[in-house]
Amino acid sequence: MAGSTLTLGKALNEGLRKALEDDPKVLIMGEDVGRLGGVFRVTDGLQKDFGEDRVIDTPLAESGIVGTAVGLAIRGFRPVCEIQFDGFVFPAFDQIVSQVAKMHYRSAGNVKLPITIRIPFGGGIGAVEHHSESPESYFCHTPGLKVVSCSNPVDAYWMIQQAIASDDPIVFFEPKRRYWDKAEVDPSAGAPRSLWDAEVVRAGSEVTLLTYGPSVKVCLEAAAAAETEGRDIEVVDLRSLSPIDWKTVIASVRKTQHAIVVSEAPVYASLASEIAARISEKCFYELESPVLRVCGFSTPYPTSRIEEDYLPDLDRILDAVDRSLAF
């Protein structure tokens, strides 16, 4: 089968379809995932083709979605749970943190929970409260979970299948404002890399931008803009947020000796803090300037008319690049 141009949302849809086809134990469950095909249409057409028993419109209760997924997984299924928006994952937080994350450990490996929890995340779509959050740090801080995020259609297509195939529970963050971004996806090519590998999406020599999800595009744009000023910036798409592919990260920073972490999440006690802390520790002698963080501020996500000032954008990144290099 030759490649075709897909949006990120459609690539996820195709990836889910493939997973449903390949393994009869794969289930999709969530609010409005069936008839409607999800509020972002990521599950469009799947209930029609795979039936109501495999693509399940659930009651409006997130703890119920994840809690019953645990039971289904114990029974041998591979549930893919959709949380409709980032801000609505918290009613399920207890089940995720105390059950999903701990069951394999608790059972000394006897009980596997191959559950994928899909969460459209991040801002920039002009939405109301609770629809633009970046809660990934909560999950990264939770041992027993693995956390990944795709940034483009090709990764979306492959990573969702890899996540579903994993025997560990995975929180899968989808950059909602990139759902409509397009790229060529070739299903016959095979997965380009492991789910756990970071990718150097742009090679450069002067400074490393470490990022993931929706901010990858912003960082690439910043790097392109900087190029016109003669700056050579490397961009690393982390892809896996827990665990992080430190080898790739450290290699890049050792090379450029300047690092900036870019993420929409509130900066304080976040995944970005971890990245900055670890690089500072591992590259103590190589770093020529402190690791900077261009992240969301320590406020709740603001109203949409000022979200552009909250989100890390091209200018704030370039400003940080200047500060890093001028240090």
């Binding site: 009651p59 119920g64 009613p91 002009g126 609770h130 304080y268 603001p302 949409s304 704030r316």
Partner: protein, 364 residues
């Protein structure tokens, strides 16, 4: 006024005082007796509330609002509940309670701030007895229960009304609110607008039995009222609030109604529901039946209806003008009111952003 003895048009458990055709009917447990002025006012409320909704929908289509959650079809449920509330009462809404907001004296313009994206609710809940809109499904039912426990502790006379939808009935929080209010006999009325849909999911995804029966499992009464009959909703809500104020604890009111529009302006209901369903419910329009009742009984004539329409036009103009005047906030305000007592961390971040924004000044 003559009250005719006509059988309600729905199942016997449905409290109805006005048929879809505008005929008054009796109910063994609930009755209402208003002045002519009051009947007319209810009609006026319904029309104005619908106009708020149509104007906001139009503003959204024109790009002035990012989103709008329409209450079309639910006017009677909201006006009936809203007009049952008295001064000492406090209401906890979802994101769709524009009609209750109106009854509580919230200027419709301030409702738009959230949907325009300039604030998260422009009114002071303490002034209005009307909490800010709550978007996370079900959370507000616990807040309402806690507020009601506060009323008890203050020895205050009021009661609380918690609004939520059919979909929300599945959330843990809502059921915990049922537990708490029952255990503490808190003066709260749970007002569930069963508009048959939770986005694309029909009621069967939430319950196999009528929702008002949920209350039985928690030890307090549940009643199903015709949510498109403003008189019945008013009567049932008043009784439930009175019961709460007397110290007899919570009541679950299920207002049986229909979401005539999309879930929000982002939604496309043609993907999941049949047009025929909509047609059936059109025949039960809450405004038409009140209009028919007023006409039939001679309580209002063409002039009165025209006067109400004029008032609606004026309200619409007020909303439109007010909406366009809602300016974008200053970016630096994004740090305001995170804390009542401030924070050194935010002070530092505010300074950074100010310096950064300042660096662009004069640059262009």
């Amino acid at each position: 006024m003559a009250v005719q003895s006509v059988q309600p048009s729905e199942g016997p458990e449905l409290v109805q005082l006005l048929t879809p055709e505008g005929e008054r009917v009796e109910h063994p447990d609930y009755s209402i007796d208003l002045t002519e002025d009051e009947y007319r006012e209810l009609y006026r409320d319904l029309v104005l509330v619908r106009r708020i909704d149509t104007e906001a929908t139009a503003l959204q289509r024109q790009g002035e609002l990012g989103l709008w959650a329409s209450l079309l079809g639910q006017e009677a449920a909201q006006v009936g509940a809203g007009r049952a509330l008295t001064g000492g009462d406090f209401a906890f809404p979802t994101y769709r309670e524009h009609g209750v907001a109106y009854c509580k004296g919230v200027d419709p313009v301030t409702l738009l701030g959230l949907f325009r994206g300039v604030n998260q609710g422009g009114w002071n809940p303490h002034d209005k007895g009307f909490q800010l809109y709550t978007i996370v499904i079900g959370s507000q039912t616990l807040h309402a229960t806690g507020y009601a426990m506060g009323l008890q502790r203050d020895g205050a006379d009021g009661a609380v009304m918690a609004f939520f939808g059919d979909g929300a009935s599945s959330q843990g929080d809502v059921n915990e609110a049922f537990v708490w209010s029952s255990v503490f006999q808190a003066p709260v009325v749970f007002f569930c607008q069963n508009n048959q849909w939770a986005i694309s999911e029909p009621l069967e995804r939430q319950s196999r039995i009528p929702l008002y029966e949920r209350a039985k499992g928690f030890g307090f009464p549940g009643v199903r009222v015709d949510g498109n009959d403003v008189l019945a909703v008013l009567a049932v809500s008043r009784a439930a609030l009175e019961r709460a104020r007397e110290g007899s604890g919570p009541t679950l009111v299920e207002a049986y109604t229909y979401r005539m529009g999309p879930h929000t302006t982002s939604d496309d209901p043609t993907r999941y529901r049949l047009a025929a369903e909509l047609e059936t419910w059109k025949l039960k329009d809450p405004i038409e039946r009140m209009k028919a009742y007023l006409s039939r009984t001679g309580m209002a004539d063409h002039d009165y209806f025209a006067e109400v329409d004029t008032a609606a036009d004026e309200l619409a103009a007020h909303i439109r003008a007010g909406c366009l005047a809602l300016d974008d906030p200053d970016p630096i305000t994004l740090f305001d009111n995170v804390y009542a007592g401030g924070s050194t961390l935010l002070d530092e971040e505010r300074e950074q952003l100010a310096a950064y924004l300042g660096s662009f000044e004069g640059a262009h």
